[in-house]
Amino acid sequence: MTQHARDQERASPPLRNDGPLARYRMMRRIRSFEERVGELFLRGESAGSMLHLSIGEEAVVGLTDAMEEGDTFTTHHRGHGVFIGRGGDPARMMAEIAGKAGGYCRGKGGSMHIADRALGHLGANAIVGGGIPHVVGAGITARNIGAGRISVAFFGDGAMSQGILYESMNMAALWRLPVIFCCINNQYGMGTRVDRSAGRVDFAARAEAFGLHAAKADGADVEAVHARSLQLVQAARAGEPGFLEIDAYRFFGHARMDKSPYRTAEEEAEGRKRDPLAVARARLAETGVASDDDLKAIDVGAAAEMDAALAHAIADSAPPLASMFEDVFDASTCAPEPQSVRLARVLSEARR
């Protein structure tokens, strides 16, 4: 375990088993984080505009919270929330989104390529479906040399159209791998609503046809997601792979530049009513698990944490230019020859 991961563990609340209130807190942290990512962009401090916010999809915490330390996962381009759910450090994430030296990937990856190997994150992916088969491989590792570890692929409804998903599902079922495929259905792939991309919109039926345990959970209800997740995680640990669809709604545009002209204001208003934070908050208050003050304290704490992450990212420095040649290959081997070196070799007067 790296120093960072240890610090992380001390700083953050335990990842699981402390129930609905912890899950609410985690969801709030995710939302606050994403709001700050939006701010980073507006302040012109993000590396590029390919920023995909997971606001509306926070109930994914129901699954991340059912996973255990040592479990691995891959995410998609809209993966900030999943990663925070698994313990990601918001400050290093934000710095990466800003393309800074102190970011998770030293400013090489950005929003769509965040990872923290120490936390089991095998990488976010900007190729729709690209990270899905990697959990099959992690499942093989678990089967061949592991001990009870599962691996979870998180992806959007758009990836339901990618062939590699079905190839991966088939392998997981065939080899009985400890793997879960989690589709975060936010109803849209960019501007395309699921009923315009799927001939039959019953994703669980597809997974079942390939031999997986399949379930669909209400993405407005993190506890419903959690209950389903616990079942699927248990089955996966026993070598029975699963599929979970989290039925959610993408609150905002596809990326920061998109104002969603392809859908109506009414539809958006309806969709945003399916707010997992509002639902969880109301239930916690109703059931007396937390007072309004408790909840406010959580909200304020999350806001402060993410303000600090934002400030950290802005203050962090850009990576040194020469670092671009690092990490192409492992440092123990060789680095690519910079062009300047080749040109000097070719053009130096010493040539003749």
């Binding site: 950005g110 390529h113 758009g158 671009m324 690519p336």
Partner: protein, 334 residues
């Protein structure tokens, strides 16, 4: 009809619109080409004019999109398939290289695949390693595929229209950094005949050969060089495969110095291929080796400074050209 001022983005859109008006068999298929109007806004408005059967929003299924375009081309339509980013080529090279490019040949001439694959590549938007590549070299290596890469507004229009007249598959790679570029479009006057490169600027001291967005950098470099008394040709390849190298040979045998510039990772790039060809053909006229300048051999980093630093700029092109001509090394080479 007189020339109009417009953007590269709109020139592509006009080419699609005009082709679709002229030929009822032309249709578009790709992700977000309809309601969304294209990831870079290129196809905006076309679904309104031509309807959903001719502007087909496809599921995120790149291999099957290309495959469907192939089948449509085989049976009488003229598909324009859009691959949103050339970075996704790795999912479709089988359909492109093993199917589209080889069908006519494998089937002994019976089955042509008159389709166009439109895509875009390149850096400049901090889109990171999987959304910033220049992968034309993969297509360039495929017998049976034609490959064109427009650098100007006029070419953005004409190369696409010409591509849509070919009996065989053509890959058109646009550049994401050019969509907003402004320029003059004359729908009646292509920059050069289909298949031929274009001399964008002429000079005496060296010949800079490039394509796509690097043409702009090279032209700017030539300006800088002129201020220093170095006079450069700038050739825009336009059509990379098959390559008509007559103009290249003519100019390089005059100047005796050539530089091939690409935005792609240099190793295995189209620039290497052109340099190899040119030194074969022009050997006796060369004062210096044919020099290659390209992207560094690294994935594209997201940090804007690193991204910029990994790709040739006008300043770098000018520095290296000056070095090649005057033998004076730039400061950074010390």
């Amino acid at each position: 009809m007189a020339a109009i001022e417009t953007t590269y983005r709109d020139a592509v859109r006009l080419a699609l619109r005009d082709a679709m008006r002229d030929d009822a068999t032309v249709f578009l298929i790709g992700e977000e080409v309809g309601l969304y109007g294209g990831a870079y806004g290129v196809t905006k408005g076309l679904i309104e004019e031509f309807g959903a059967e001719r502007v087909m929003d496809a599921p995120i299924s790149e291999p099957a999109i290309i495959g469907a375009a192939i089948g449509a081309a085989m049976t009488g339509l003229r598909p324009v398939a859009e691959l949103m980013y050339v970075d996704f080529a790795g999912m479709v090279m089988d359909q492109l290289a093993n199917q589209a490019a080889k069908s006519r040949y494998m089937f002994g001439g019976q089955i042509g695949v008159p389709m166009v694959l439109r895509t875009q590549g390149g850096t400049g938007r901090s889109a990171a390693a999987q959304h910033s590549q220049s992968l034309e070299a993969w297509m360039h290596h495929v017998p049976g595929l034609r490959l064109v890469m427009p650098a100007t507004v006029n070419d953005a229009y004409h190369l696409l229209r010409d591509a849509l007249r070919q009996p065989d598959p053509v890959v058109v790679i646009e550049h994401k950094g050019l969509y907003a570029a402004k320029g003059s479009l004359d729908v009646e006057a292509p920059d050069a005949p289909w298949g031929q490169p274009k001399l964008r600027r002429s000079g005496d001291d060296l010949t800079i050969i490039t394509y796509s967005r690097m043409v702009l950098e090279a032209l700017e470099a030539a300006d800088q060089l002129a201020a220093d008394g170095v006079s450069a040709d700038v050739i825009d390849l336009r059509c990379l495969n098959p390559l008509d190298d007559a103009l290249l040979v003519e100019r390089v045998s005059r100047t005796g110095r050539a530089m091939v510039v690409t935005e792609a990772a240099l190793t295995g790039s189209v620039a290497s291929d052109i340099a190899a060809r040119l030194q074969e053909t022009c050997f006796d006229w060369l004062e210096e080796p044919v020099l290659r300048l390209g992207g560094e051999d690294i994935p594209i980093p997201v940090s804007p400074a690193l991204e910029r630093g990994s790709i040739p700029s006008a300043a770098l092109i000018a520095d290296v050209a000056r070095w090649l001509v005057t033998r004076e090394a730039p400061a950074w080479a010390a």
